[in-house]
Structure formats: C-alpha cells, structure tokens
C-alpha cells in the first residue's frame, strides 16, 4: 500500500557538516535522499523502512567534478546527466558515460546520482561495473573525518557495504591514464532506457607486443554484488588472444558468476550471454593494438 506522507519526516539541513552531524547524533535513524529515484520508488510502494529522511539533493559539497593531472573526482551528488555532459569524462571514461546513458530515461538521469547508485547497491546497477573496471576509490565523510576506500572492496554482500551508519560518500575518485586502453561496455536488456539489465559488462584492456598487458572485466546482474573477474584477468594476462584462450575465458567466466532466475531473465541465459560478452570483448581486444 502507498505510504502516507504524514508518517514521514524529511528535513534539508542544507550543508554537509549539518547532515553528517545529524547522521552521527542518531546513527541509522536518518536515511539520506538525493534525487529520490530509488528511495521514492520504495516509498511509493510502502516499502521504505526509514521514517526519517534527510535531503542531500543539491548539497553543494557533493557537487562538481574536479580534475587533477592524476585523477578525476566526481562529487557523489553528480547526476547521470552531469556525467554524460562532461567532456573529459566522455573522452577518458566512456564506460561511465555509456552506463549513465543506459540508466533510466532522461528524467531519472536528471535526478539519479552516482553516489546514490553506489549506496543503493543493486547488483544490476549500470554504473557499478564501470567503477570496478576503473578501480575507483571512494572518499567517505563523517564527523570523524574523511577516509578513502577502494571501490573493489566496497560491496561485501547483497546490499551490504563498507559504509558506517554515520557516513556519506563524498567523492568518487578515478585515476586517469586509460587513453591507450580499449574500453567496451555492453548492456543486455529489453531496451536501453528504463529496462534494468539482464547482464551488463564494463571492460577495458591493453595489448603490448601482441599479449595482454592489462585487462579488467566487470559484470552486473550476475552475482549478489557487481563482480570483477579477477581470476580470469590473471589467467589471461601475458597471453596472446587465441581461440583456445577465448574458450577458456568463457568457461572461467561461467564458473565465476552466480546468476539467478528472476523476473528479467534466467540463470542459464545470463550465463551463456555473459560468456559471449567476455569472448566478444577479448576478440575486440585482439585487434586493438595500434601498430607504432
């Protein structure tokens, strides 16, 4: 049943210090809400456990994209639209732009935020495989100060993450330097807009001297958390991409994922398609080395 707004509190303290002290004073009591594209859906369905919400929408400390020579820092409050429209992100981090383009439709992209996508922690989220592939780091903030955590370790289980009840994500940091990488993103879904992925993949890699020098493959919708195929990556590094290797990669992928049957797809389909997407990426990588 629909929620009754009279049962809910929502306040907008307006500054980051005010929000984090509220979170610290009553840990676990206040649910931060940014663009509401996930929270309001739960609310509409009467399934929002929280009764007290604190708005972090438009909080200036969570806005903006900062660029330094080594890394970019994306404010957790950046919307998908802001990501899509940022020139440097489009040039250097196309996996993120593809993911932003596939998330919801324009209205949801205008409101949904990257930080929100991370803490909503859906294993099917479009942008999370991209962050895994880029080995992003998160800067978390609380009254205790800031700490920087690798995104690779952030999700510890289905909807579980390394975020204390008094913390917010402030920045998503990504090291630069992928200009020589082949970067590929694919979403398999009923359609790009609105539909949630059956399987999505974000991958990047670089060949040198005909062998794989570096490779990172990340998947969505095939495990309780967004997944990096680290075992496969280690296995193929230093090798040239021959048909046997591609076959082996397919098998290793199937063993690494834990797809399920659900409303959108079946475990069997997801397993087959994921293997195909990994194989397709490796085939593309094979032909990607630029001759000097």
């Amino acid at each position: 049943m629909r929620s009754d707004p009279a049962d809910f509190a929502l306040i907008a303290p307006g500054t980051l210090p005010a929000v984090v002290s509220l979170l610290a004073d009553e840990p676990g009591q206040w649910l931060p809400i940014a663009g509401g594209t996930d929270v309001m859906v739960q609310y509409a369905a009467g399934k929002l456990p929280a009764r007290k919400l604190v708005s972090i929408w438009n909080l200036s400390e969570l806005q903006g994209i900062e660029i330094s020579p080594d890394e970019i820092r994306i404010g957790a409050g950046c919307t998908y639209t802001e990501l899509r429209e940022h020139k440097l992100i489009a040039e250097e981090f196309p996996l993120l732009v593809s993911a932003a383009r596939w998330t919801g439709g324009i209205a949801n992209q205008n409101r949904g935020t990257l930080g929100g996508n991370i803490v909503n922690a859906s294993p099917a989220a479009d942008s999370l495989p991209a962050l895994l592939a880029y080995e992003a780091e998160l800067i978390l903030v609380s009254v205790r100060g800031e700490r920087r955590v690798p995104y690779l370790d952030f999700h510890t289980g289905y909807k579980k993450m390394q975020l204390a009840p008094d913390e917010l994500i402030r920045w998503i940091c990504i090291r630069r330097g992928f200009s020589e990488y082949l970067q590929c993103a694919r979403k398999v879904g009923a359609r790009d807009a609105q539909a949630i992925a059956k399987v999505c993949v974000a991958a990047l890699g670089r060949l040198r001297g005909g062998v794989i020098e570096d490779v990172r493959i990340a998947l969505g919708s095939v495990a309780p958390v967004p997944l990096r195929l680290t075992e496969l990556e280690e296995m193929v590094k230093g090798k040239s991409i021959e048909p046997e290797l591609v076959d082996l990669a397919r098998k290793t992928t199937a063993a690494a994922i834990q797809p399920i049957d659900d409303i959108r797809s079946t475990a069997r389909y997801r397993s087959a398609v994921t293997g195909n997407l990994v194989a397709e990426f490796l085939e593309q990588l094979r032909g990607s080395e630029k001759t000097a």
Partner: protein, 164 residues
C-alpha cells in the same frame, strides 16, 4: 514512530509554477505530483505508474525534466516549475502542441503532457534534433496508444518549424 514527532507535520513551501509564485502547506514527503494536482489544481500532470517508469508525470524543475512522482515536495522548495498548463501562451498553443495535434501525436492523452515537457527539454538543449535524439529524449516516456511514430513526427515538425 514517536521519536519522529518533532519533525512531523506540514511545512510551508514557496515555489514558482508556470511563472506564478505559489505557497502551499504540505507534508515534506508529499509527492510533487500530488502537490501540483491536489494543492494547486494543476491536473494536466498525470499519474501513470507512480514509480518513475512511465514519464506521465514529467514536469520541468528549473528547466530539467523530472518525474514529479519521485520528487518529495520539500526538494521542490524554491524551484521554478513548468507544467503542461504553462506551455501555451494564453490561447496561443506552442509549436509543440500544434505539431502534436496536427501529427496525431495524442490519442488517449495520458502520456501527452509528459511527452510535450520531455520534448521541451530536448528542443531547449538541441533546437535541431536528429531522429535518434528525439527517440532518446522520449525514451523514458511510455505511450500505449500511438506506437510513438506520430509523436516523433510531431517533435520533428515542431523543431523544423521553429525559427532557429
């Protein structure tokens, strides 16, 4: 629920709707959609799915397309909103409205206000859109009648007719 009592209750909200300053007294978690329809009587904004999937309740908030069913009222405080009621200039329909009429872009009409506002944002950003731009701009707005082609035609016609 007792511990939230100090924060419960209605709040006063000032916002600009279709160029007109408005003040309403609402619960902060009331959906902007309900504020528009019930408090301000602007029933042109439609509720479809109520969960951000269909785009029927689309309005422009500070010029940006949003699903008003997913905006808590408090977050609309101080914003400038445009609903379908604000698109025409008095009796003079906008180019988009005229094109929707001429191309048969509206049938049952439930998706139409959202389609027109989504098209407004598109033409605002890209006055001369491609067919793909139009399809993408309207990809979050579902229509169960037209099959979309007449809608896309209407947006293209409006774009071609506009002076710039």
């Amino acid at each position: 629920m007792n511990n939230t009592s100090e924060n419960l209750g209605k709040c006063e909200l000032a916002l600009t709707v279709n160029g007109k300053p408005e003040t309403v007294r609402v619960y902060p978690m009331e959906r902007l959609l309900d504020v528009l329809r019930h408090e301000l009587g602007l029933t042109g904004t439609k509720e479809g799915c109520g969960e951000g999937e269909c785009g029927s309740c689309s309005v422009l908030m500070n010029g940006k397309l949003v699903n008003s069913c997913l905006v808590p009222a408090l977050q609309a405080a101080g914003t400038n909103l445009m609903t379908i009621e604000g698109i025409a200039r008095g009796p003079q329909l906008s180019a988009l409205q005229t094109a929707f009429l001429e191309c048969g872009g509206a049938q049952c009409g439930i998706c139409t206000p959202g389609m027109i506002l989504a098209s407004c944002q598109l033409l605002d950003k890209k006055p001369k859109p491609t067919w793909d731009d139009i399809r993408e701009a309207l990809s979050g707005n579902l229509c169960r009648c037209t099959g979309y082609m007449q809608i896309f035609d209407a947006v293209m016609a409006a774009a071609q007719r506009s002076p710039e």
